[in-house]
Symmetry: C2
Subunit: 202 residues, 2 copies
């Protein structure tokens, strides 16, 4: 819901202002970056939009709750026409592997392959809504070329919304974004020896 | 995913540390407070947990994407047994009404009725996972008694997880929480005359 405020003097109609493609970045060291992205994806799904999710750190073996829930929603769309289709790719090697830097060459290669696929889909306007989850990490590690990523995002055709998550989002990406939220940790369960648990952390 | 770290010396087993009931607060003036709550609820749903959502500002007439998506997921659970059941209550008068303070007596009454129902469900352990969306506002406006709310939350039986969203969360609530994230606005689409749009903001 928006505040009632005078119409801005930018020459755009209300409809056009509503249709500007969003580039949303959820960054910071707190929780909620990815869950907020998937919560927004739920709205997109309900609009009947085609959704493409690329997870750049999670490995294909990682069966998260959100992934399985969206696979259920995708099947529901196929069978009943409710909502939109969901395509989900987990292309990373897992966080531990990423941190340890093991086999970085292969990880960089996987990130580049996945990004090339994102580029292909953006050029073809394959989806209405993309989640590039933990996408800042291949940028921070230098596995992807930041300038090329920015140029692709800035030049994407049509009305394709993109949500990017991850810590340490580079400033030029924030400059390009339409919405930036920093999730800041004020208190974290791991601080008090709480372990991650199914249903909350995955 | 958690870091590998030595087992803490707190006398709890790994299983017990995993089962501590979470009290998660998403606050701050940025976006993502509610979407992160609903993204986490998606994980809870996938676990087969019973989910109770109470929206303290949204009015019953407001058909948000997340609400309709979770109603679909609830029906899917009923029909196929996949996921968990979802009970959704929107008990507010809408943000504009809340801001304008119109009919505050009726709004305060509605908040108290809804809170009494939350108390009843918590006492009966009716759900595994609760979202009290925009619950900070009735606290800030003084419609609910903070001490009573804190006592109810602190004394809730079993393993009932609770997520609370909203700006200006009172410090005693943060003190009680297991996880607190502040969503901070670094850039907001409304700053650049962008209007809210279906699929993104609702």
């Amino acid at each position: 819901m928006t505040d009632a405020s005078p119409a801005p003097d930018d020459g755009l109609t209300t409809r056009l202002r509503r249709l500007r493609p969003a580039l949303i970045v959820n960054t910071g060291d707190g929780k909620g970056k990815s869950t907020a992205a998937f919560g927004t994806a739920l709205r997109a799904w309900h609009q009947g939009w085609s959704i493409g999710v690329f997870q750049f750190v999670k490995s294909p073996d990682w069966r998260s709750g959100e992934r399985e829930a969206f696979e259920v929603l995708d099947r529901l769309h196929t069978e009943t026409g409710v909502g939109g289709p969901v395509s989900w790719q987990a292309v990373g090697a897992g966080r531990t592997a990423t941190r340890k830097g093991s086999d970085r060459e292969a990880q960089a290669q996987a990130a580049n392959t996945a990004w090339a696929e994102v580029q292909r889909r953006l050029a073809g306007q394959q989806h209405d809504f993309y989640v590039l989850d933990e996408f800042t990490y291949p940028l921070v590690y230098g596995w992807l070329d930041l300038d090329e990523v920015l140029a692709t995002l800035a030049g994407r055709p049509g009305t394709q919304h993109v949500v990017i998550t991850g810590r340490r989002a580079p400033q030029p990406l924030l400059d390009l974004a339409t919405t930036v939220t920093a999730m800041t940790k004020l208190k974290h369960p791991f601080d008090t020896n709480q372990l991650g648990q199914a249903g909350i952390e995955w």
